[in-house]
């Protein structure tokens, strides 16, 4: 009987403490301090786990996947050469686009300064698509700045510390991006569908002409979260909404979000 009572008391205390922390979080109170304290507590254990487990993991991965690593290296060299060739070809086009953008008073992405960053941690949970990066406020990175890598938009900085920042990926379920396609006259709102599910858009009118392979880029509308012209995603599937005269789109991010090691933070702040 006594143990039953103590068990209930322990459960009540546990739930009460959790509710208290949730309330503190919602009111934005001591969250920053709690996070810092938790980091201080966990970091020695993380360090020791890393020191022991990483070399073993690398050894096993290297031993098992050696031929894959060699093949991947060759493929990357080929892709790098091709990318350099394309970059050279695009140079003159970019000059023209920059001139037109200047005339139209639209910020041109090629002229915006960037800060290179290394991905230091992936999101530890299945319910948020975020990454931590190695640059922060001391490098001029602020919340709201767009992040690009691997040929397209990756996400947006949501929080910063002096030496680090957290980036919410475009595939996160809380991400929404205004995009344009074709000749730039039509705009859409696409949203993240979760860590493994890429992006999607719903309720597209049947009058809209979109086919698989169409590339979507940020629309850069005034007051938007991103500058114009950043490639975001490619349409991979167009389906008819059951029972409605609209389309649904399944989109694949142009940037490879599964292979993020290095990325660039665009030093551009959304206008308020």
């Amino acid at each position: 009987m006594a143990s039953e009572r103590s068990r209930r008391r322990a459960l009540t205390v546990g739930v009460g403490a959790t509710v208290l922390v949730v309330v503190l979080y919602l009111t934005g109170g001591v969250l920053s301090g709690v996070r810092t304290a938790a980091n201080v507590v966990v970091s020695p254990f993380s360090w020791s786990v890393n020191e022991v487990a990483r070399p073993i993991g690398h050894f096993l991965a290297g031993a098992i996947d050696y031929s894959d690593v060699v093949a991947q290296n060759q493929r990357l060299r080929y892709e790098l050469g091709r990318a350099q060739q394309q970059a050279n070809e695009q140079w003159s086009f970019e000059r023209q686009l920059e001139q037109i953008s200047t005339q139209l008073h639209v910020p041109f992405i090629g002229s915006l300064p960037t800060v290179a960053a290394q991905v230091t941690a992936l999101s530890p949970t299945n319910f948020a698509a975020t990454v931590d990066i190695s640059v922060g406020r001391d490098n001029g990175v602020l919340a709201g700045m767009p992040v690009v890598a691997n040929g397209g938009l990756v996400g947006r900085v949501i929080s910063t510390t002096p030496h680090g920042a957290t980036v919410r990926l475009i595939s996160d379920t809380n991400s929404s991006i205004g995009v344009t396609y074709g000749n730039g006259s039509s705009t859409l709102l696409i949203s993240g569908r979760g860590v493994n599910n890429g992006l999607g858009a719903t309720a597209i009118p049947l009058t809209t002409t979109i086919s698989p392979g169409t590339v979507m880029a940020t629309d850069g509308l005034e007051g938007g979260l991103y500058p114009p012209g950043l490639p975001v995603a490619k349409v991979s599937k167009v389906t008819l909404t059951p029972g409605a005269a609209t389309y649904n789109l399944v989109l694949r991010p142009t940037a490879n979000l599964r292979q993020l090691s290095y990325l660039d933070v665009v030093l551009w702040e959304p206008s308020t």
Binding site: G14, T18, V19, V21, V42, S46, P124, N126, F127, I158
Partner: protein
Amino acid sequence: MRRSLVPATLVTLFVVAFQLEIFSSLRLAGVVIMLVWLWPLVMGLAGFTALALYVALLGGLLFDTHATTPLGLTALVGLVLAYSASRLGREGIGDLDSAAIWVTPLIGALGGFAAPVLYTIGAFITLNFSIWRGSLLQSVVVNAVAFFFMARPMMRLARAVGTLGERARR
């Protein structure tokens, strides 16, 4: 319970470190295996109720401070798992010595199945409506399978930690 607090705290800190450093990168079908939920579940199943609730709260909160999801939600799901498992543990269900060999893994799998669902329901209650659009189905399946295989070894660890205090008292 007090004598087991120190080893339980240390193991929980290592579990959180493993979760953050290893399991976050080692994804199966893109899904993170939630060791921080399995640990309180097996602790409850081993019959150490108060300890299970304690490690659920500690591990969950430490994990939550490293994620961008609602703070306290992982801990809350861990508490529910720990309490539910402790009810079974009290009846000796899942006991490594007396129960059939498949009982503990099966309960683990059920826990792995239920935890992401509970998390999503909790997210709804805390007004995070977008979480259900994520990888719920993959999370449920992968965690159920992973918990099935990891439940018994983790339960041995839980029993070792829980009985440390009793041995010290003797």
